[in-house]
Each structure stands twice: as structure tokens, then as C-alpha cells.
Amino acid sequence: MAQIGDDVFFASLSQLQDGIRTRKFSCVELTRAWCDRLERYGPRFNALALLLREEAMRQAHDADGYFLRDRVRSPLQGIPYAVKDLVAVTRHPTTWGAKPFAGQVFDEDATVVKRIAKSGGVLIGKLSMVELAGGGGYLFPAASLQGPGLNPWDRSRWSGGSSSGSGSAVAAGLVPFALGSETSGSILTPSAYCGVTGLRPTYGLVSRAGCMALSWTLDKIGPMARTAEDCALVLAAISGGDSEDPGSANKRFIYAPQFVPPVKELRIGYNPTDFTEGCTPETRPEFAKALDAFRSLGVKMIETKLPDFPYGPMVSTIISAEMGSIFEDLVESGKVDELADKRQIAGIKTSQEVLAKDYLRAMRIRRLVQQSFAKMFLDFEMFLSPARNSIASKLSDPLNRPGPASSPIIPAGNLAGIPALCFPCGFAEGLPIGFALAGPPFTENKLVGVGKAFQSATDWHKRRPPLG
């Protein structure tokens, strides 16, 4: 019987693969250990929506069979993982984190689940989330079927949303990686608050078929993991064209570190005020140190500013309009009132009142945003900013508390459909902070290359929260 301890629970995907290949542990042993851990500690962070132990053990047994025959389908073979509870898994509830959908069961797996199954990954559970992925605008972290997402670094703080369970489960070593989703910030926020690495892919690179729709033109599915490289390995498995997703770009991501130019040749744009006045005071010295560490990689840093657009109003209008149509029946049935957050209920109700001309105006300005970003990326390859401009908020704090005007990279990047990598870059008051590195569409390979270089030079991503 293999001894599986913290070194395994916080190992990278390639270390886990090595362990399986060298028979340090089997896929069954790994899966059993992770199921036990997720079952024991998941509820401690309100992170667990559903444990899938039985199916997982079967998949792990199959994966061991492949290894015994020396057949390795992908770097994910035999590796346990979990998904945000808006990803459909056959014959099990997919609640979308919301009471009105608590009993919802789909008869087909989401494309991303099928793809990871084909790669040999072992699905061990579903993770909690903000109800309806936050559509309508929630005011408190408690807007979830499982209660507020608790941060493994400090349970009196929020884990971020809306991929709350994915963030805290990866941070606490309850899964080696998880899938999250982002419409505007839902991968980057929990990644930054929980101190994990998250990759929001280019719009259309990963199929959303079988996943809850909040905004057809903004939704993305992406990995949250321990390292930039782990995110790349997961993205390689889940990306690719899908006729079931009308937004599919029909492109695949191939992880090819050998094609990443040396970081010293890269030009990175940044706005210095994003790291000073744009941040809360307790994070400023830590971001300053992190920027120094980033500079010491040898990259050329270019001072710049993002193009000036009303990103927040645009993204909110687009989400409201599209969500208004998607959840029209929820409003008409009156079941919307079963949601936990009153402000969110009101937001979904008023989404029925968005004017077509406002939606179209937002979408027309969005075209200008795309053009401006394309032009901006002629001057440098990537743009760096804080992923969030503060540490995780207290659970009791409303989420609209006034603060410094932060970098608009989250709404701007989502409107432009560009990829972004969030990676830990320090701690302030004992809580993680993270960088967000964004690049032009389909440049995930380069973003991962830079993230990997930073993680080779620092150890923020290796820190482990005390489970107590």
C-alpha cells in the first residue's frame, strides 16, 4: 500500500505521472486518497458539490490497466480532477450552484468531460460555485447552494467567484486540477484569491457544450491548477473544435514549450499605476516586489495603458441581455426568487428590461475594443497587471465595497476574447495575490512559457495552506 502524503497532494501533473509510471502508487491508490481528502476537507471550505467516488474508482482501475499495458494516452491519464458544478456529468445532478436547479440531471456529459475521459483523467467530483455563475450581480459571497466559498488560507475570507470550489479545492490540495469557467473574472478571481494558477483560454478554444450558458459571447471553460505547465497540459486535452458549440473557433491548443521565444526577447506592456494607486494599500509593497521578480526574468517592460472604453458597463450590459434571454423562463416561473442573493434576483429580473439598442451598442463598441487590442499588441506581446487589486474579501463584506479603481483587464480581456494566465506572485496579510498576464488570441503557449519562467524563479505557487 503506497503512502500518499502532502508531497503527492501538492505535486504537479508531471510528478504525478512519474509516480504512476515508476509504480510509487497506482491510479486506484491515488484516486482513493484524493476522494478521501476531497470528502473530508471539501465541506470545510464549502467547496464540494458532489463526490463521484464509485465512477472514479472504476475509471482509475481502467487507467491502471492502460499503464500495465504500457499505453499512455496523455499526461492526464490516471490523474484525478473535479469540475465546477455547471459542467454536465451524466446521471448526476448539475445544479449550477442554484436552488431552482438542484435536481437537474443531464443525459450527456459535457464535451470537456468526454475529452478528459478520453485522455484518461479520473473525474472524482463536482465543485461548488456562485449560483448561476453570478449572473445578475450578487452582493454577498453566500450566493451559492453550498454556502460561501471559504478561502483555504483564511476561512473567514472568500475564495472568490464564481469558480469558488475550483479555487479552494486546488489550493488546499483536494484535487490536482479543476475546471472552472469565466464570463468576466470567474477563473482569474478565485485563482488570485486562493493562490493557484488559472488559465482563461481564448474565446472559442474550448467547447462549452454541456456547460451552463450565462453569456454566449463571453463564456469560456478553463483549467485551474498548481502550475502554468499543468494548465497547459489540461488545456491541450480539452481544447479543439466542436460542432455542438456554435462559438467554437475550431482550433486546438498544442503545448509546445520549445516554440516559446526566450523571455528575454519578449516585450511586456504594463501600467505602473495598476500596481500602486490601483491596488489596496496592503498589496502595494508585495506587488512592487513581485514586479521586481518579474523584471529580473530579463523581459523588456514597456509602460502603457489599456485603451479607454467603458469596459464595466459594456460587459454588464452584454451579460444582462444574453442572460435575460437564457433565464427568461426562470423569471417567468417565479423560481428566480428561490436564489440566495436578493441583489442577484433583482439583477436577473431587470435583465428582462435591457433594451436591444443598448445591447447592440455594447456589441458595436466591443468591435472597437477588439480592434484597439489588436493594435496594442503590435507594440508588445503581452500585458501584465494585478489579477485582483486586493486580497480576498471578508465573508461578511458586501462585494461592492468601494476601493481603488483597479486595472480593467478582467472585463476588457473578456470583451476582447483574449487569453489570460493568472499566477501567484506573493502574499499580503497572509493571503495570496496574483498576476494576470494577457496576450492576443491563441497565444496561450507563450503565456504559459512566461508563467513557467516566473514559477521557475519563484516559489509562491508551491506554498500550501494549513488544513488544521
Binding site: 450578487y138 478571481t189 459571447t217 458597463p313 436578493k342 431587470t350 428590461e353 463598441i365 461592492n400
Partner: protein, 68 residues
């Protein structure tokens, strides 16, 4: 899949005459549903006004592609 709601500060609220102000002692958690609806409607109006500030070329098409 929204990370955080759009910030809605008391200062901004004060600019919108139609919206009742929360008293300092009143926690937002105690909002009445009517207040929430008014706040969300005010948000829609505010977003509209902010987007109107952008000079939009007449030929700018929405960022949606219809494929036949």
C-alpha cells in the same frame, strides 16, 4: 461566470436622484427587494449613459457574426 459585480458605491448612488440612499446604519443585507430592483434598474441606466460617451462610427458592426 462573473468574478465580481460591477462596483456600485454610495457616491455613485447619490448621483441617481431616483434611487433611495441607504442610511449609514443600514446594512445592504437588509435591503428590501424593491430597493434591489431600483438599484439594478439604476445600473442599467448608468451603463447606458456611460456607453453613450463612446463615439461610435456609423459603420461599426456588432461583434456578432451570423454564418449562413
Amino acid at each position: 461566470m462573473i468574478g465580481m459585480p460591477d462596483p456600485f458605491t454610495r457616491r455613485r448612488l447619490a448621483k441617481l436622484a431616483a434611487v433611495p440612499l441607504l442610511s449609514p446604519a443600514q446594512s445592504p443585507a437588509q435591503d428590501q427587494p424593491a430597493d434591489d430592483l431600483a438599484i439594478q434598474r439604476a445600473n442599467l441606466n448608468r451603463w447606458r449613459e456611460q456607453m453613450k460617451q463612446v463615439k461610435l462610427p456609423r459603420h461599426a458592426e456588432p461583434a456578432v457574426i451570423f454564418k449562413a
